[in-house]
């Protein structure tokens, strides 16, 4: 509902609209009986009507235009003045109403209270944040230490492995040793004919005297 499109109109009884239209608010019992339906078309007596254009003499036209120019200028200024007045009135009434009810003061008071609450909560928040920060730094430091420990452990393990391999390398069978190793393996006999008890004592052959070694 654009307010700029509203107009001051004169409502009047119009004979010629369908009964289906509903009654205006100003005249609740008013209904119109009959209008010729558009589908019937124009009557023969009215088909070739040409409406006469009004012929206005030149001097009359001049006078009319002059009058209208003046009138429109005056109306423009009147409307502008009315609009200004309305604005002024609105400002005055708004100020008065606000002053009378005391809403502004109430609002300021509420703002103050809110500020106090904010400060309190902010203080609490600061404390909490500081504690959390301390905890976090501790955790990070401990984690770093742990990492260092783990690293050093790992390095130690690897060192151990390397040492072991170094020690064992003297027993590796290489290209030079292979012939000798084969001969040794073939010459040596390993006797698997033994029993073993719970303590790990070997009983070789049919002897009843135990030995702890394999051979």
């Amino acid at each position: 509902m654009s307010l700029m499109r509203q107009g001051l109109v004169i409502e009047k009884l119009v004979v010629g609209l369908h009964r289906q239209r509903f009654a205006p608010a100003a005249a609740p019992n008013l209904v119109v009986r009959w209008r010729k339906p558009i589908s019937l078309g124009t009557a023969p007596s009215k088909l070739f009507r040409v409406p006469q254009r009004p012929q206005i003499p030149e001097d009359e036209l001049k006078e009319i235009r002059r009058l209208f120019k003046n009138y429109n200028t005056q109306m423009k200024s009147i409307r502008a003045w009315f609009a200004e007045e309305a604005k002024r009135q609105e400002a005055v009434t708004a100020a008065a109403v606000a002053g009378a009810t005391g809403e502004e003061a109430e609002f300021q008071r509420c703002l103050q209270i809110n500020e106090e609450w904010n400060k309190k909560v902010a203080a609490e928040r600061q404390v909490r944040l500081a504690a959390e920060k301390a905890k976090l730094t501790d955790k990070i430091l401990t984690d770093l230490e742990q990492d260092e420990l783990q690293k050093s452990k790992r390095i130690a393990e690897i060192q151990q492995m390397v040492e072991r391999e170094k020690d064992l390398s003297s027993h590796y069978i290489t290209e030079e040793n292979i012939d000798q190793a084969i001969e040794e393996a073939l010459s040596q006999e390993v006797n698997y004919n033994f029993a073993i008890d719970r303590e790990g004592n070997y009983y070789h052959g049919f002897s009843m005297t135990p030995t702890t070694s394999h051979s």
Binding site: M1, L3, M4, R5, Q6, G7, L8, V9, I10, E11, K12, L13, V14, V15, L17, R21, F22, A23, P24, A25, A26, A27, L30, E60, I64, L67, F68, N70, Y71, Q74, M75, I78, R79, F82, A83, E85, A86
Partner: protein
Amino acid sequence: MGCANRPFFHIVVAEQRTDQHMPVIEQVGSYDPLPNERNQKLVAFNFERIQHWLARGVNLTDPVAELLGLSGYLPIHPRTYMTAWRNRIKANEESKVKN
């Protein structure tokens, strides 16, 4: 609004594009075109509300503008002058014809 053969008008603020049978926004006056016993045509205006609506930027229709001009609230509408001199001319011609 009125009855058959007895017109009566409400001066009203309504949306321009709605049907004239639709509900209006506000009634702001009335006009009875038939003269009463004392040969008066009665017009009523709510000038405060008219000022309010004019400030809001509202269009006036010609008949209402003429009436407001005649009432003295607005400047006299050019159509008033036009109808006046046309009536005068017609009256002159009729008197000439009679004579």
